[in-house]
């Protein structure tokens, strides 16, 4: 599957630069490692089998980072008896990128049972990655005891009391949100009033041309409510980001890649480095999906993100551990 194909816009129905057919075709390729980028309102997609086939010119930019997610350190059931090995494979993949990432974003479920040794094992393995820093947000598996004390002791330095935070890298504004605490019966993820109030203030004085990257564990759009794959109060958060010309939302939790573009917002979920989960509705429940051992690594992966100044959206590229 080497080689590149370009898709031009055919019918711009919504005047948002997305052709439905082109977008759906792009989505279908996402599982095998597709590169979809919107440049100046034009959606371009390239199919690829390996990251090394990519034209570095398309990838080059001011900022490069990698999203990993759902390492579930401590999980040891049939779907993957050795999650440390597959996390190491993800690190090896990161280290093989032609453009080394400046930092990593881990979108949560670092551990499987919130145990101190699980967090420490992940930190140890990630030390081998060719990236200076790792920024974390917690998943629901990271905050099982004492409101996440062991997680926040390790990964909460410099964050707001609730665990959320923001920082700048090369004029891109990054926002780490926590939507896995104080979950209500029958609900999905939740951000809560205090966090939303902080978010409003945090972005108030940024110019609308500031590229925004939001990262949180549970998807900030409703992927599949029956399985809790969504955040009850994310609409308010997105309303505070409406003024920005480029917003990229990076999530985890669902252990598969999914992408959605809505106006200026690109939503993206990453693969897990531990085990895959079924597509919405294709199984009785969203539990770990057992696959033949030789297929496992083709369903786990990392996400490479590149920002090129002047481009409308960040280039988001998924690749598997294969």
């Amino acid at each position: 599957m080497a080689g590149r194909t370009k898709i031009e816009i055919l019918h711009d129905h919504n005047q948002d630069g997305i052709d439905r057919r082109g977008f759906l075709k792009c989505m279908a390729w996402a599982g095998t490692g597709a590169f979809c980028v919107m440049k100046r309102g034009v959606l371009k997609s390239y199919s690829m089998s390996r990251l090394s086939d990519m034209n570095p010119e398309d990838m080059k930019g001011e900022l490069s980072f990698v999203q990993i997610s759902d390492s579930h350190m401590g999980f040891n059931k049939a779907a993957n008896p050795d999650v440390a090995a597959t996390l190491q494979a993800a690190v090896d993949k990161i280290n093989s990128l032609s453009i080394p990432p400046e930092f990593l974003l881990h979108t949560g479920d670092v551990s499987h049972l919130s145990k101190p040794e699980e967090f420490d094992t992940v930190s140890q393995i990630l030390k081998g990655a060719a990236a200076k820093d790792v920024f974390f947000v917690p998943g629901e598996h990271d905050v099982l005891n004492d409101d996440g004390k062991d997680y926040f002791d390790r990964f909460g330095k410099g964050t707001q009391p609730g665990g959320w935070y923001s920082f700048e890298k090369k004029s891109v504004h990054f926002i780490g949100l926590v939507n896995v605490l104080n979950l209500k019966a029958g609900g999905m993820g939740t951000l809560g009033r205090a966090q939303l109030e902080w978010l409003e203030k945090d972005v108030k004085h940024l110019t609308s041309s500031t590229p925004i990257v939001v990262f949180a564990h549970i998807p900030l759009w409703t992927v599949y409510p029956e399985w809790g794959w969504g955040t009850d109060d994310s609409a308010q958060a997105l309303a505070y980001l409406k003024k920005f010309g480029s917003v990229t939302v990076l999530n985890g939790h669902i252990h598969q890649t999914m992408q959605k573009v809505e106006g200026n917002v690109t939503f993206h979920t990453a693969c897990s480095t531990a085990f895959p989960q079924p597509k919405p509705g294709e199984a009785p429940s969203p539990g770990p999906m057992k696959v033949p051992a030789e297929q496992l690594r083709s369903l786990l992966g990392i996400t490479d993100v590149n920002y090129v100044r002047g481009k409308h959206a960040l280039a988001v590229v998924d690749s598997t551990l294969e």
Partner: protein, 119 residues
């Protein structure tokens, strides 16, 4: 005749001695002194509580057992009870002494809900 009756009784006694068979379940011998069940079980599997709703008499101890390959919790929405995190095959028990309705959920996967109705 007597011998076969003796053997039959011995066999019944042996069977009864095995693993504390409850007359209620197997009906081997209907006991006139049968007590109402004081325990009930809820299985956690496939991201759901089964049965999702149970009705029990006051004084019953309910045991939840996690048969899923993912950890879950059992948390009362009215804060009446709260389990620790249950990994596969771990259990949590709670004895319901007061009548009423006790909705609960899994605090990790809040779409999982259940209810205990105590008469």
């Amino acid at each position: 005749m007597r011998k076969s009756v003796l053997i039959a009784s011995a066999m019944v006694a042996a069977v009864m001695g095995l693993g504390g068979i409850q007359p209620k379940h197997n009906g081997i011998i209907a006991s006139a002194q049968e007590k109402p069940p004081s325990t009930a079980e809820v299985k956690i599997d496939n991201f759901s509580f089964g049965p999702a709703a149970i009705t029990i008499p006051a004084g019953t101890t309910v045991t939840w057992i996690n048969r899923d390959d993912i950890p879950h919790t059992v948390v009362s929405t009215e804060k009446a009870f709260k389990s620790k995190v249950l990994d596969t095959d771990e259990k949590f028990s709670y004895t319901f002494t007061k009548s009423g309705e006790y909705p609960y959920f899994c605090s990790i996967h809040p779409k999982m809900t259940g209810k205990v109705i105590v008469r």
